[in-house]
């Protein structure tokens, strides 16, 4: 049985919105509105969804970069008792020795590296936080990490701007690894990169995960990328997780209408016949006032009464496949009926 | 225009209420609108001409009686105030009393009170003195067309006080009361006593008998006079006069040069710039105002940055540093009169030898401690048993900001003393005039430079001020000589001129002997007119802010 590393129970993150004469809180952006998710050791969990649906927020909330406003994020260390990260402060995490075990790699390598620090110092920073090393040992360690990500000793004494985007992302990954983490949130690590470089990073990440036994939360909106790298996928919509299942299962047997829409929207580089598309109407509703009931019902082509009234729960339908839809059992037929789509291969 | 006179200057009027005004600028405005019983005769300081009185009282004409304790003024008839009311003896008596009743804090009424009640204020420690208003009320009587003043003791300067100071300015009783002035009763007098600044009822209104009316007073901007139609005397030639505020010298100078102003105030240091100007008449008028550098013989050692360590250890001076006459003499020898006259004043000044400047009664030429650095050094060597010379000292000399002449004197003394011995270190610092006033009164300055302008042209006003231990400056010099104090008290009330003279001569001798300070200069004011203005009569008590408009003629 796979071991859990992190378990989210109704995790919530609301960003307050202020207004009125006295600038009191008048509303909140429900960026993350009660999400349940298990993450297992050694897996790469892809999180997909539209822009603004709360993917990044999930990642940041888990590792407590933005303290969650509700729910639990339970971390199961390899040895020792589980702890609820959502209730811990940064300092507590540091004292418990788990701060550096949860890391993050950001989307834009340009802004995630301090432009005024040498690569050497950037990578040394997390190492120094963990152990005292002599200068020589430190350098040795840095070089070994650099080599792990495909850079070399000659890059030590350079500034980030002297690197290409792909190299910078490697450095960002190297820095994350240098903290010897167990779990890394990868927030669209390739979307700022060139197509030709994207593959390098994806391969690197995959290699590192296997070598170092890391767990990834891979956030992206590029479905083919998740398909390539993830072992399991969670689909999000408006601050909710609506479907999670192993990668292959998702592409072969999607259950949520939104997932269908996502899959059908992927342009296929393989030259094929005219594709059939599920073109959704309208835009994503505002997370300030999310729709009642099923959040997708405003755009769902198969919406029925109950959808706007009741919020569907995330149901396990077997095969490690969970979905939150009132009509999950009939969606496939409906799609076929209405759009003539049978599969996405 | 032809009949308009424009004068640019930088003085600011504080108030038009004669009971409260105590500065030259206000004086100028008031005295061209109001009139007093008598005024100076031409350029004289000791001769008077009748104005609202028909004659100047004297012992000869019986106006002064009872060995100088009773004065009688006959009031002129047919004089009208600007508002049309007639002048009566009642108005005169009311006015004289009213000023004293009002007696604002820091006002000029101490002179009249001194004469009439023998005190310098209606209040003591902030409380009204019992019975003072009765005393004031009783001291002035109306008898027919005459007003009689009773003094408890003879007071020789009384005529001068009445002529120049505000005590003699005559108001319209009816109008004053209508405008919230004293209601004339002793009972209510306390209510009108000591008004706050700006709360004086006549502060910005005026109604006099004078040749000019006020048309407009925009403070610190312009003051406009207009000839009064019902003036009793000779009709002045100028119809209007504008006195405009202008502090920037360049701008004033250009105004004079371009003919936009008929007269501007010229400070001494700019004299040369005006001298060569075309179409300009320049008068240099020595004033009854002397400036001196005074040594403080008991400096306040508390938190005083001006005396360094406060000890004679080369890093400061002790608080009684100047109590040693040798130190004082050394400083006096360090003052280079010749150079001061030439450089600072362009040879255009006299340096009186004593506070009783030339032009004052009983002025006497005393010897001076001539400029001689060797002698200065000698004195210094003797001072404090030679300790001064050996240890050196450090101190600060101050002068008030913006006065170039005083600044030069301070620098000169400081630099000359410093040249005696490299261990002597003197810093010259400027201090805002108001702070200066406060500080020297707290005995903060080892040496302070300050001037005194006559309230009335009498040696008393100068010698007592500068020398007596009760005098305004004598006090803060910490200088005390019993003989001086006795002479000063005695001479003030003595009416025999011979005896007075002897007393004042002796005091002036003592100024030299005791060397409590040095007189730096007798102020010279410069009056620069466009050449088409005639009629200016110089007067040693009417300084550069003054202008007697009715005398001027423009052609």
């Amino acid at each position: 049985m796979k071991k859990k590393i992190i378990e989210l129970k109704g995790l919530e993150k609301h960003y307050p919105v202020f207004g009125g004469v006295l600038k009191r809180q008048v509303n909140s952006v429900k960026a993350l509105d009660g999400i349940d998710l298990d993450i297992y050791r050694g897996e790469c969990l892809g999180v997909v969804g539209e822009s603004g649906c709360g993917k990044t927020t999930t990642g940041k909330a888990i590792i407590n970069l933005h303290a969650p406003t509700g729910g639990e994020a339970i971390y199961y260390p390899e040895d020792g008792d589980p702890m609820d990260l959502a209730k811990m402060s940064n300092r507590q995490m540091k004292n418990a020795g788990i701060r550096s075990r949860l890391q993050m790699v950001f989307q834009d390598p340009t802004t995630s590296l301090n432009p005024r620090m040498l690569i050497k110092h950037i990578i040394a920073e997390p190492i120094k936080e963990q152990e005292k090393l002599s200068a020589r040992e430190l350098e040795k360690k840095i070089v070994s990490i650099l080599e792990m990500v495909g850079l070399s000793r000659m890059h030590l004494m350079r500034y980030p701007h002297e690197f290409s985007g792909g190299q910078r992302q490697r450095i960002a990954v190297a820095r994350a690894i240098a903290a010897s983490p167990e779990f890394i949130v990868l927030d669209e690590p390739t979307s700022a990169l060139d197509v030709s470089v994207q593959a390098q990073i994806l391969n690197l990440l995959d290699k590192l995960r296997k070598e170092l036994n890391l767990t990834y939360l891979f956030v992206t909106h590029h479905l083919l990328v998740v398909k390539y790298i993830s072992t399991r996928i969670a689909v999000m919509y408006l601050g909710k997780c609506i479907e999670t299942c192993p990668t292959d299962e998702l592409f072969s047997n999607p259950l949520h209408p939104y997932t269908h829409a996502l899959l059908s929207g992927i342009p296929n580089p393989e030259v094929a016949a005219e594709p059939n598309r599920i073109v959704l109407e309208g835009d994503v509703p505002s997370p300030l006032n999310p729709p009642s009931g099923c959040r997708f019902h405003t755009r769902c082509p198969f919406c029925i009464d109950v959808c706007s009234r009741e919020e569907p729960v995330l149901l396990d339908v077997g095969n490690d496949h969970k979905v939150a839809c009132h009509r999950q059992d009939v969606v496939k037929e409906l799609v076929k009926e209405k759009f003539g789509i049978e599969g996405y291969f | 225009p032809k009949d308009t006179f424009v004068f640019e200057s930088y003085g600011t009027v504080r108030t038009l209420d004669p009971a409260c005004a105590y500065d030259v600028v206000s004086h100028q405005r008031i005295m061209n609108i109001y009139e007093s019983l008598i005024f100076f005769d031409g350029s004289a300081t000791d001769k008077f001409a009748p104005v609202l009185a028909t004659e100047v009282p004297s012992v000869e004409n019986g106006g002064i009686r009872d060995e100088g304790k009773t004065y009688e003024f006959k009031i002129r008839k047919g004089v009208k105030f600007h508002n049309g009311n007639d002048l009566t003896a009642e108005d005169v008596a009311y006015s004289l009393k009213r000023h004293m009743v009002v007696d604002q804090e820091g006002g000029p009424m101490w002179m009249m009170l001194e004469a009439v009640a023998g005190v310098s204020s209606t209040r003591k420690d902030g409380k009204i003195i019992d019975g003072i208003f009765e005393t004031i009320d009783k001291s002035i009587d109306v008898k027919g067309d005459s007003v009689i003043i009773h003094l408890p003791k003879p007071f020789p300067p009384l005529l001068a006080v009445l002529a120049y100071s505000y005590g003699g300015v005559i108001l319209d009783k009816e109008w004053t009361m209508a405008n919230g002035g004293w209601d004339g009763t002793v009972k209510n007098a306390a209510k009108y006593n000591g008004p706050a600044f700006g709360a004086e009822p006549l502060q910005k209104i005026a109604n006099g008998t004078g040749p000019y009316k006020m048309v407009k007073w925009a403070p610190s901007n312009e003051f406009i006079f207009q000839r009064s139609d019902n003036y009793w005397g000779e009709k002045p030639q100028l119809n209007t006069a504008i006195i405009r505020y202008n502090k920037e010298w360049s701008s004033r100078k250009l105004a004079l040069q371009n003919g936009d102003a008929d007269r501007v105030t010229v400070d001494a240091q700019y004299l040369t710039e005006v001298q060569d100007m075309d179409n300009i008449k320049l008068f240099s008028v020595p004033q009854l105002s002397v400036t001196g550098a005074m040594f403080c013989q008991k400096i306040n050692p508390e938190a005083n940055p001006n005396i360094g360590s406060g000890k004679l250890d080369g890093e400061g001076i002790p608080s009684d540093f100047f109590a040693d006459i040798n130190v004082r003499k050394a400083f006096l020898h360090a003052f280079d009169r010749q150079m001061y006259i030439e450089d600072v004043w362009n040879n255009n000044v006299t340096i009186p030898t004593t506070p009783n400047a030339k032009g004052l009664p009983y002025s006497k030429e005393e010897p001076v401690y001539e400029y001689d650095l060797e002698k200065a050094a000698e004195c210094m060597k003797k001072a404090w048993g030679g300790k001064v010379w050996e240890k050196g000292f450090k101190m600060v000399i101050t002068h008030n900001t913006g006065n170039a002449q005083r600044e030069a004197a301070a620098l000169m003394i400081a630099e000359n003393i410093m040249s005696l011995n490299p261990k002597f270190q003197i810093e010259v610092r400027n201090v805002d005039w108001k702070d200066y006033n406060v500080a020297y009164r707290k005995f903060q300055y080892p040496l302070f430079i300050i001037g005194w302008g006559a309230d009335y042209p009498d040696p008393d006003n100068f010698l007592t001020t500068f020398m007596a231990s009760t005098g305004v400056y004598g006090k803060y010099m910490g200088y005390k000589n019993e003989e001086v104090d006795k002479l000063a008290r005695y001479a003030r009330f003595e009416i025999d001129p011979e005896k007075r003279r002897d007393a004042y001569y002796r005091m002036q001798d003592l100024w030299y002997e005791d060397a409590p300070g040095v007189i730096l200069y007798q102020k010279v004011d410069h009056f620069a007119y466009r050449s088409n203005i005639d009629g200016f009569i110089p007067h040693p008590m009417l300084d550069h802010e003054w202008e007697n408009l009715k005398l001027l003629k423009k052609n």
Binding site: - | T4, Y22, S220, T240, S250, D435
Partner: protein, 343 residues
Amino acid sequence: MTAYIIRRLLFLVFVLFGVSILIFGLLSTFSPERRAAAYVTTPKQAENIPLIIQKYGLDKPFYVQYGKWVEQVADGNLGWSLVAARPVAQAFWNYFPTTLELNLFASPLVIIVGIWLGTMSGVHRDSFFDHSTRIAAIVGWSLPTFLFALILLMVFYGYLDMFSPGILSSDLSLWVANNPDKFVRYTGMYSIDGLLNGRLDITLNALSHLVLPVVTQVIVVVALLMRVMRSGMIEEMNKDYVITAKAKGADFKTIYKKHAKKNALIPVITVAGQLVALSMEGSIAVEVVFNRQGMGWWLAESATQLDMPVLMSVCMFVGLVFVTSNLIIDIMYAYVDPRIRLH
């Protein structure tokens, strides 16, 4: 929007309170004697300093004096100005119109000239025009205002005998003083009152006295505006929407006038507050040199004569102007930039 304005008004009250405490606190570092000395005009009066202290309670603790001051202010009594020889509140109306007049003429000029120059040099970047205006601006910026004012005074009044300092020529000033019924001082500004009373000569005369002060004021303030406008223009001209407009077939003039300029104005508005502050500062030197008795002159004079009630009130007034103008600027901001919503 309403909530925003209400909040800003509350803020205004807060700032005024803060300013008054601040200035009062600063001025109460004076010893009671020094503050009493402010009431003294001749050395002879200085005798009475202890009495003055007592009378005005100058030796009381800070909060007592402040409380008393607040009480007075609530009564509309801002104190007595020595310089003006008037109660502060009254004197204010003597001086304020003069400053207002100066800035009334200077500000539009500053805005027009600054925006025009900035736009032009931004659009024609690196041209001769651009370089020369930039150099002029930087030199103007480096020149002390008062020095510049004095030089103008020397050249125009000294050599050419034009544009005399002051507010109004004496003959007209006389006429006005003598005819209070024929010439009503509606606004206190001669240039405008002249028009309102149908006396064009007075207006012209007042304007001729305004030429040099306004020129000085404009030169002092315009440099900043120009610089911001220029860089805004350069930035906006490189934005994608300009390319879009070009791709639509827009001509150059439309591009910079309609598209870029409006956007470039947005950063200009952010420095508008600074412009207001600069104008207030500029007014001091201008008024002192050109002998115009306005607020700036009053302040300078009060500072040198320790006229504390004035310092206090002028600071409060300046704060008031500043905060209100910032409020107006913010509202303008929201007007120019539809993305901003005030809340």
